[in-house]
């Protein structure tokens, strides 16, 4: 019965349009590549990424070790595969926290516009936005100790206002639309309208923003791990691999090269995917492109 004005035609054309969007395809391929590597690492890696072989340290890439070995003789390729798992898991959960707390807050604030809670939510958002994010993340991990879980919390907190603000803003404009007014006339409560009518129409927006936040979270996780506040050894992490590589930069540059490329390609893939999704969901832009 709910009749969101979703563009049914667009759904049908989505696949065709997607296939004609090279950036979207590139983003999808890169993202799938890293997600695939992360999943595969549960079943198989060329070597045990935690096994040390001091005698074989700092080897340049060979057919035995595709990306060479690190300062403990560990296989860099295997470490990157497992590192992908950490990066992706941290990013997914952190963004998940942002969505699951931010969206309800935003929807509530929009439904009760001008109420005290709306004011509190928005000022709370301002407060979090005003904090230097990396510094606060470092403080949080100083309080709770370093580790993947605390990195997730630190990154997640900064995702809450992003989604709260986004969904409040978008929901506010939806509240003035006819189909919502019709639902109100039909006697539906604010909460029910928010869930049944507003939320479905925010989905596209949330998916696009989610992808972008996801890529930002991968970068943030790398930065935290780089300063030593991410997942703890022996679990490999891209950011910590870079930190470890730093003193070897003149001796063995490949130690810094591959983890850096992994981060760049993952973030690039997610950004391209996000941009592609936005283009595909925005008919105006799609027209402009063709």
């Amino acid at each position: 019965m709910s009749a969101p004005p979703a563009d049914r035609n667009a759904e049908g054309n989505f696949l065709g349009a997607a296939l004609r969007h090279p950036a979207f395809i590139a983003g999808l391929v890169l993202t799938l590549l890293f997600v695939g590597a992360a999943l595969l690492s549960y079943l198989w890696t060329p070597y045990d990424p935690t096994r040390l072989d001091i005698a074989a340290k700092l080897q340049t890439p060979t057919s035995g070790h595709w990306f060479g070995t690190d300062h403990f003789g560990r296989d860099i390729f295997s470490m990157l595969m497992v590192g992908a798992r950490v990066s992706i898991a941290v990013a997914i959960i952190a963004v998940g926290i942002g969505v699951s707390l931010g969206v309800p807050l935003g929807l509530y604030a929009a439904a009760h516009r001008g109420s005290l809670l709306d004011e509190v939510v928005m000022r709370g958002n301002d407060l979090i936005f005003a904090f230097p994010s990396l510094l606060l993340a470092i403080l949080i991990t100083a309080v709770f100790g370093p580790g993947a879980v605390n990195a997730i919390i630190a990154i997640g907190i900064f995702n809450i206002p992003v989604f709260a603000r986004l969904s409040r803003g978008a929901a506010l404009s939806l509240w003035t639309r006819e189909f919502v007014l019709a639902a109100r006339v039909a006697g539906k409560g604010r909460a029910r309208i928010s869930v049944e009518h507003i939320l479905p129409n925010l989905m596209n927006l949330l998916i696009v923003q989610g992808t972008i936040q996801f890529s930002l979270a991968v970068l943030a996780e790398a930065a935290l791990a780089y300063v030593g506040l991410g997942a703890q050894p022996p679990l490999p992490s891209w950011g910590r691999m870079l930190a470890d590589a730093q003193t070897f930069i003149s001796l063995a540059p490949h130690l810094a090269l591959f983890p850096g490329l992994a981060i760049v390609l993952t973030v690039l893939g997610l950004n391209l995917l996000g941009d592609g999704l936005r283009d595909l969901h925005d008919p105006r832009l799609r027209r402009a492109r063709t």
Binding site: L134, I138, G260, V264
Partner: protein, 316 residues
């Protein structure tokens, strides 16, 4: 207008008050005793206790909070536990590095982003546009600390054109000092320039689509005349907003880059202060940074309100 101003000022003060409580509480529950850290592993417990009372750490929490707030309102930020000098002096020294670095990076980023964005917009979907957008996509995806490491490898270790880190101080000469800030500024500027170029391009394209520009073109202006004459000016508003945001982001966000290049800046001061549990420095610097962000937002809001009286009523 006055009422609006008062309302905004009140909300600003409340934000700062809330921020001060959050910062104070977070630094309060950090495990680790500043005095024990300073005294080291073989210290006598009595000596640690003596130092605690010398630093005023044995006083009640509420008292110390009020002391801190009242002090700050009078411009006294307290004395650093480890360095034993006033926090304001430390912050002053460090801002002399962080602020120029931020401005340098911002200047670089703007100088790169403006032409790139305008060029891309003027050749929409042509190879030039696609190339620039591709490069900026890459620029956004590169972690700045990794880029910094590559810069060090190439320019400091291999070519030895720049030193790998450190800051000789402004006394060593402006050019020498600027030179030591160059690699860090480049590392900071790249991602910012990429973001800015993308904003510039899309903002220009949006204005080019707007009615007044269409009208201008219909009246016979060429595309580039329309671009330069009408669109650019109007497209600058969102771009300048982003530049403003980037300024406060860079001021606090240079922390990792300051660490990579070993610059005695504000970010590194806080980073070190956290690990040394010099909590008074941590608190005061974070509050100053929050204040900077809030103040910039406030000024932007006021500017908008003056420019567009409608906002005064609508904006919440």
């Amino acid at each position: 207008m006055t009422l609006y101003l008062l309302r905004r000022l009140l909300s600003l003060s409340l934000t700062l008050l809330a921020a001060s409580i959050v910062v104070f509480l977070v630094t309060e529950i950090i495990p680790g005793d500043p005095a024990a850290f300073m005294m080291g592993i073989n210290a006598d417990p009595a000596a640690i206790a003596a130092l605690r009372s010398e630093l005023g750490l044995d006083q009640p929490v509420a008292f110390r909070y009020l002391n801190w707030i009242v002090g700050m309102l009078q411009g006294d930020f307290g004395q650093s536990y480890t360095y034993r000098v006033p926090v304001s002096e430390l912050v002053g020294d460090r801002i002399a590095v962080s602020l120029p670095l931020t401005l340098y990076a911002l200047a670089l980023s703007t100088l790169i982003a403006f032409p790139a964005g305008v060029f891309a917009a003027s050749r929409r979907n042509a190879p030039g546009d696609i190339a620039i957008m591709g490069v900026t996509q890459l620029g956004v995806a590169v972690p700045n600390f990794w880029f910094a490491m590559l810069l060090v490898l190439l320019f400091a270790i291999t070519l030895q054109w720049f030193s790998a880190g450190g800051f000789p101080g402004w006394d060593a000469g402006v050019l020498v000092a600027l030179k030591s800030l160059t690699l860090p500024a480049i590392a900071l500027a790249l991602p910012q320039a990429s973001i800015l170029a993308r904003v510039m391009r899309s903002s220009l394209l949006d204005t080019l689509d707007e009615d007044f520009v269409r009208t201008a073109r219909a009246k016979g202006l060429s595309r580039s005349q329309a671009l330069w004459g009408h669109a650019l000016r109007n497209a600058l508003i969102p771009v300048l907003t982003i530049v403003g945001l980037q300024f406060s982001f860079l001021l606090a966000g240079g922390i990792i880059i300051e660490n990579v290049f070993y610059l005695p800046g504000l970010g590194r001061l806080v980073f070190q202060a956290i690990s040394q549990r010099d909590l008074i420095v941590v608190r005061s610097v974070i509050i100053l940074l929050v204040f900077a962000v809030v103040a910039v937002t406030f000024l932007v809001d006021i500017a908008y309100a003056i420019a567009d009286p409608r906002l005064r009523r609508q904006r919440r």
